[in-house]
């Protein structure tokens, strides 16, 4: 296998300091915008602002991708995936104590 080193790559930390538009979020997840709208409707992810043009915090990308994998691999529906993600977050929080 060939090796190649690229030096000093800077990424974006996916936290509440960065926001993405609906289009950017859909692109990052590799899905159509309609699907992201569905996720918002079912409370899987929430827009950061309530203005007409949605903006999403960085962590929404991670959450949306996890939800997509859960729906696909475990044959869950959106409310089920949202519930699993909420419970996993809660479990994480409790384990950190």
């Amino acid at each position: 296998m060939a090796e190649r080193t690229l030096a000093g790559l800077r990424g974006i930390v996916l936290d509440e300091q960065v926001t993405f538009t609906l289009g950017e979020l859909s692109h990052a997840c590799g899905v159509r915008t309609e699907l992201v709208v569905e996720m918002v409707d079912h409370g899987v992810i929430e827009p950061a602002t309530s203005t007409d043009e949605w903006q999403f915090y960085g962590d929404s990308i991670v959450r949306a991708q996890r939800a997509l994998r859960l729906v696909q691999d475990l044959e869950l529906n959106w409310p089920g995936a949202a519930l699993v993600l909420d419970l996993l977050d809660e479990l994480d929080r409790l384990q950190k104590r």
Partner: protein, 315 residues
């Protein structure tokens, strides 16, 4: 290449019904799904299961696979029969699984590359993005405070000139910005697997985890520290040195403190807007009465005091 025993992977008999196979996959998927499971090898196990299920849930693929018979054992060196390609044609299986290059050589030789399709038809048509890659890196807390660089090695799929997909090792040097917290992900755009047919490459998501620290514990941007103090420091109130990620600072202990008292050093946690705080929990450490002098001092205290620390317990 190695033979894969798909029945063994799903833990079902060779004569299992399609329903049994579905049930076995669902049960295992709940246990080993990398987004849910805490098992260390969950990702590798789940990938195997997905591949096994992809073959066994499809009667056509299953019957093709079944003709190798029960004599094949997992891990045995395997070559497909010479007439395989002519007898069976699986035009790129797995339309429900979007990520290319996910399955083993064994699968791809028999059934073709599981490319394309995507999320139940929801994936953006035409412009199929390359595979997103998830990786993780564990760093010491000090590196999260100051920022650091990490060299990480990934295996990414790459299309050969003949169109077949190979895994290639790729080494990246990634900057970790100061103030990152555990569980956060860094997104490196277009550093994932290559796209096919002129489409853009996938992205790399690098999850950050912290190494356990001998005395700090991080909670988001806040840092927690248990600070040992002597009984007289706690009782009389003294200024003591406290380590922080940015270096030692002086902390005034209020007179009359006890174990468990929490003090806050504002802005001394991980950087950010706003920066985290450092929480210091006092732990009174009682020196043993191991010599005559200390013993006498404790006895003086005992004589001068008639306090009952267990009054609230009713004894």
């Amino acid at each position: 290449m190695e033979f894969k025993d798909y029945y063994q992977i799903l833990g079902v008999e060779r004569d299992a019904s399609q329903d049994d196979i579905k049930r076995a996959y669902r049960r295992l998927a709940r246990k080993y799904h990398p987004d849910v499971s805490k098992e260390s090898d969950a990702e590798a196990r789940f990938k195997e299961m997905k591949e096994a299920y992809e073959v066994l849930k499809d009667p056509e693929k299953r019957s093709a696979y079944d003709q190798f018979g029960a004599n094949w054992k997992a891990g045995q060196d395997f070559q497909p029969p010479p007439n395989w390609q002519r007898e069976y044609s699986f035009g790129g299986g797995g339309e429900s699984f979007g990520d290319a290059g996910q399955f083993s050589d064994f699968f791809e030789t028999l059934f073709g590359q599981a490319r394309g399709g995507g999320f139940g038809g929801f994936r953006t048509g035409g412009r199929m993005k390359g595979e997103d890659i998830n990786a993780s890196v564990t760093i010491p807390l000090e590196d999260a405070y100051r920022g650091a660089s990490r060299t990480i090695t990934l295996e990414v799929p790459e299309a050969d000139t003949d169109g077949s997909v190979r895994r290639r090792r790729k080494t990246l040097n990634v900057k970790i910005p100061p103030g990152i917290t555990a569980g956060k992900r860094i997104r490196l755009e277009k550093q994932g697997g290559p796209g096919f047919g002129g489409s853009p490459p996938g992205d790399l998501y690098l999850a950050i985890d912290f190494e356990p620290h001998p005395f700090y514990r991080a909670d988001g941007r806040d840092i927690h520290l248990e600070l040992p103090v002597t009984p007289w420091e706690a009782a009389l109130g003294r200024k003591v040195k406290v380590p922080t990620l940015g270096g030692a600072v002086d902390l005034q202990i209020p007179a009359g403190s006890s174990s468990g008292k929490m003090l806050r050093l504002k802005g001394r946690g991980l950087s950010g807007t706003p920066p985290g705080d450092q929480y210091v929990e006092l732990k009174v450490v009682v020196p043993p009465a191991s010599d005559e002098k200390t013993r006498e001092l404790y006895e003086t205290l005992e004589r001068g005091h008639s306090v009952n620390p267990r009054a609230k317990l009713g004894v």
